[in-house]
């Protein structure tokens, strides 16, 4: 999606950007943008992610996510080695703050502006889009992150990390579409274990909202998907967090089917992988699939798992 022109001079008292000038309206129409959509706003000098809204009179404006603001032109004193050095340091940093994430977004923009051709060629396809998506996810802007993750998968459709992130973001923003995509991926024999772990997760979340009758049918589907996961390419190198997630989802589904002992067996397997997993420890004491179980499942799935 192309950025939408915005005149940042035309701001409301609450710092929303009016999108009613001709330049903005032309871009909104061309992009088929409607209220509720997330877009990138730009005046050619800066860019910021924003949600498009409309007031009672139908006038459109953007509500910026200011932590995504970047300056398009590099500062004069910056050079490519300086930008690359700071970017690498931040990308390697564990436990980045929100300020660090915003800085990564800025540095990625300047990296693209300053990098010589040979440096750009050395970067794997989809790398910058994937990093932007990861930053936007960390900042909680899932719709913007999804747009970047999609671009990463388009640029490199074979990279499991990119597909995993795309699926995870799709699940957070549109569960129905995520389920549709998961079905497609499960039917593709080349889909690897990392991506299949997220497919199972999507199905597990979907079946939570089903009636008992529908649940039985989908539970069988889940078992088939788990079997696919267990035999998928890359299963030998799967991250323990993702393996634990599949075990947890299977355990929860068994609990809902009143197979309490079998469910506990899977929670115990998680504890074999990570004896300090408090959610798995609590799950062991569950006797019913009730509100406490659903709450535990939410806590477990809220963990940010990396496919890297």
């Amino acid at each position: 999606m192309n950025p939408i022109f915005a005149d940042f001079n035309a701001m409301t008292e609450s710092r929303q950007v009016r999108l009613t000038c001709q330049g903005s309206q032309d871009d909104l129409r061309a992009g088929g943008i409607l209220p509720g959509d997330w877009v990138w706003l730009t005046d050619g000098e800066m860019e910021v992610g924003a949600r498009v809204e409309a007031d009672k009179e139908g006038r459109t404006y953007g509500v910026p996510a200011w932590d995504t603001l970047v300056y398009l032109d590099p500062e004069p004193e910056l050079s490519f080695p300086k930008v690359w050095s700071e970017l690498r340091r931040l990308l390697d940093l564990d436990g980045r703050t929100s300020k660090d994430e915003s800085r990564v977004l800025q540095l990625l923009t300047w990296f693209l502006a300053l990098a010589p051709a040979e440096a750009k060629e050395a970067i794997p396809p989809g790398f910058t889009e994937y990093q932007r998506a990861a930053v936007l996810r960390a900042l909680g802007h899932y719709e913007l992150a999804l747009q970047e993750a999609l671009k990463a998968t388009v640029n490199n459709s074979a990279n499991e990390k990119y597909i995993y992130l795309y699926l995870e973001l799709l699940r957070r923003t549109d569960l129905d579409r995520a389920l549709h995509e998961a079905r497609r991926l499960v039917n593709d024999p080349s889909t690897g274990a990392t991506v299949l772990a997220e497919c199972v997760n999507i199905l597990a979340i979907h079946i939570e909202h089903l009636s008992e009758q529908e649940f039985d049918e989908k539970f069988m589907m889940m078992l088939k998907w788990i079997e696919r996961f267990q035999n998928a390419p890359g299963i030998e190198n799967i991250r323990l967090g993702l393996l634990g997630q599949v075990l947890f989802n299977r355990g929860m589904a068994l609990l809902r089917g009143n197979q309490i002992q079998a469910a506990r067996g899977y929670f115990e397997k998680i504890l074999e992988l990570n004896p300090r997993d408090q959610v798995a420890q609590q799950a062991l004491s569950l006797n019913h699939y009730d509100a406490s179980a659903r709450h535990l499942a939410e806590v477990f799935r809220a963990r940010s798992l990396s496919a890297a």
Binding site: F5, D7, R15, R18, Q22, D43, G44, M46
Partner: protein, 109 residues
């Protein structure tokens, strides 16, 4: 008077396409108030570059400036609804290109 962004404000869209109706008048947005310093006006601009001029210069060129609702010291330079690209380009020449004197971290978001 300050307008955020680099004069002549024609990339990626020309100035006449940046005009809109504000409180019943049609024109483009600026930061402008009597007895305010350049810094007090520029703090409402996130841009690194700003355009600077005076209300007097704008009036000399046959345009009016009125205070309208918006963030900071928002005002509108009133222009005709059928303002031509050439007239817009000429008025944009009234703005001097300067670096925003306010540090990035201190500009209002």
């Amino acid at each position: 008077m300050v307008r955020c962004g680099q004069p002549p404000f024609d990339q990626p869209k020309p100035l006449h396409e940046r005009c809109d109706e504000h409180d019943g008048v049609y024109g483009f947005s600026v930061q402008s108030r009597e007895n305010q310093t350049l810094e007090a006006l520029a703090v409402w601009c996130l841009n690194t570059r700003i355009g600077v001029t005076t209300v007097g210069v704008i009036r000399e060129r046959g345009y009016e400036v009125v205070v309208t609702s918006g963030s900071g010291f928002h005002a509108t330079v009133i222009v005709p609804r059928d303002w031509t690209p050439e007239a817009a380009r000429q008025l944009a020449e009234s703005f001097e290109d300067r670096e925003n004197p306010v540090a990035k971290a201190e500009r209002h978001r």
